[in-house]
Amino acid sequence: MFHHRLDLPLVEDATGRFMVWIMAVMVYLGIIALAGALVLSGMAERWENGLTGRLTVQISPQPDDLGTGTGTEVDSVAPLVQRTEVALALLRATPGVARAEPITLAAAHKLLEPWLGSALPDDLPLPALIDVEVADGGGLEVPALADRLARSVPGARLDNHAAWLDDLRRLARTAQLVALAVVILVGAATLAAVVFAVRTGLAIHSPVVELLHLMGASDQYVARQFQAHIVGLALRGGAVGLGLGLVTLAVLAHAAGDVSSDMLPSMALTPRQWLALGAVPLVAAGLAAITARWTVLRVLAALP
């Protein structure tokens, strides 16, 4: 019979249901965007770890290898197989190289199969490829090595994936920025909705607010009521948004599991990242509370 109720009849306001839905949608979007950003950063990290420390030497077939040359040139080059051996020897003798292995013709065919089919002609002029693993200690001077290779082995080119990695990094960073922008925009829209709801509440209940003020309620006392109300709505909406967000992520993860795992890097999140997602509704409610308080105090400052 004597349970403490809010002095302001905020619960009956139509803005309440609106706030719950706004919060649900915003928390949902925030969670999806944040999950996207986390997955992307994980992917970028794994790519980087997988690719840095690796080099590829590519030795292109020269006119002689193709059998179209006249064979009469004075400076005709050695056959591709020999040039590959030279390159391997040079690489293995270079300090800082942990391992250098040729990629076999069969392996190369396998890589091309999806695009060219299994019936590859044997005389297809494929470049020879050497997979190079750089020793962890460093000490490898990539530009110098590239220079020496190019001079000693005609048609040899050192690829350190730097350009590709740079592109990848840029892509991941851009996608992360977009996700961050989405989170910020969603947050700003949510807070704007809170300001709107609180101002509406203050306007609807201005007689009661004025009464409390005249009876000696401090601004904090009035603000607390709005805060408590908004936090309640935000938590309810946030729970809905969180639930929907987790369901979406589960569905996405399931769908990704069906796709060949080689093509799509893992979407798995660490426990800490899951926790971060779970904190989204709490952070949203906290920000909503602060915003509600700030809005009330600003409006009340205008009262005598």
């Binding site: 019979m1 004597f2 403490h4 109720r5 002095d7 009849p9 009956e12 007689p207 009661v208 009464l211 409390l212 005249l214 009876m215 000696g216 309620a217 401090s218 601004d219 006392y221 400052a301 005598p304």
Partner: protein, 251 residues
């Protein structure tokens, strides 16, 4: 307690509603504020409970010049002033109990203590059977009694009542005035605005009379003192009111 010096008031750019008002309320005094409808009684009270700032002049409340008060100092000052509004201003979604409890909650009193005092006071104003009733389900007179209970529950040092007997019959009106008298005896300064001359004539308190914005003082003792002598305190006795109000539930 309260001093008005050369107070003038206009609403916006309208005519002067109050002009050159001068008076002092001593601590523990009891005054009636009379005047025809539209004379400016409510406006004068509004100035006193700091719901309005004067256009000119100086108001001193509890020894402080109102114009010099910081905003943060106002709530504590206002909590020492009990107000019965002419239109009650009860919170319709709260029970009578919660309405009356409001000033105690604002002051941060403990729930158990609040309940005890509120129930006792509502009992005394004859609303013991309506503790959980929402104001819209109460009659005008009952709402008025809830409003009065709310204004005195925290034993304010200054009580301002705007037409507190306007919606009740004379016997209940008398009883409410006795409640204010009990409160006054406990040290609260009281000012009651009314145009019900018949009712206040039975009380020997000085009157401030507003006439077209200016104030005249009629000293104490005017009116049929016989009525005061013969008028028995309503039951339950004023002694109970003293018990209720003296229970030390001020904050």
């Amino acid at each position: 307690m309260i001093r008005f010096e050369d107070i003038g008031l206009r609403y916006g750019s309208g005519p002067e509603v109050l002009s050159r008002i001068n008076f002092t309320l001593k601590p523990g005094s009891f005054h009636f504020l009379t005047g025809a409808s539209g004379a400016g009684k409510s406006s004068l009270l509004r100035l006193m409970y700091l719901g309005l700032r004067p256009t000119s002049g100086t108001i001193t409340v509890f020894g402080r010049d109102v114009a010099s008060l910081k905003r943060a100092e106002l709530p504590a000052l206002r909590r020492r002033i009990g107000v019965v509004f002419q239109d009650f201003r009860l919170l319709d979604h709260l029970s009578a109990l919660d309405n009356v409890a409001l000033p105690l909650r604002m002051a941060g009193a403990a729930e158990a203590e609040i309940r005890e005092h509120v129930v006792e006071l509502l009992d005394w104003v004859g609303l013991g059977d309506h503790l959980d009733a929402k104001p819209p389900t109460l009659s005008g007179g009952q709402q008025q009694r809830v409003a009065i209970a709310r204004s005195v529950i925290s034993r304010p040092r200054l009580l301002l009542a705007d037409e507190p007997t306007g919606n009740v019959d004379d016997s209940i009106g008398m009883r409410l005035l006795y409640l204010f008298e009990e409160l006054n005896k406990l040290g609260t300064t009281v000012m009651i605005a009314t145009h019900n001359e018949g009712l206040i004539g039975r009380f020997p308190h000085p009157r401030l009379h507003l006439d077209r914005g200016t104030l005249n003082l009629t000293p104490a003792g005017i009116g049929p003192s016989v009525a005061v002598a013969t008028m028995a305190p309503p039951t339950p006795s004023a002694g109970l009111a003293g018990g209720v109000l003296g229970a030390g539930w001020s904050r």
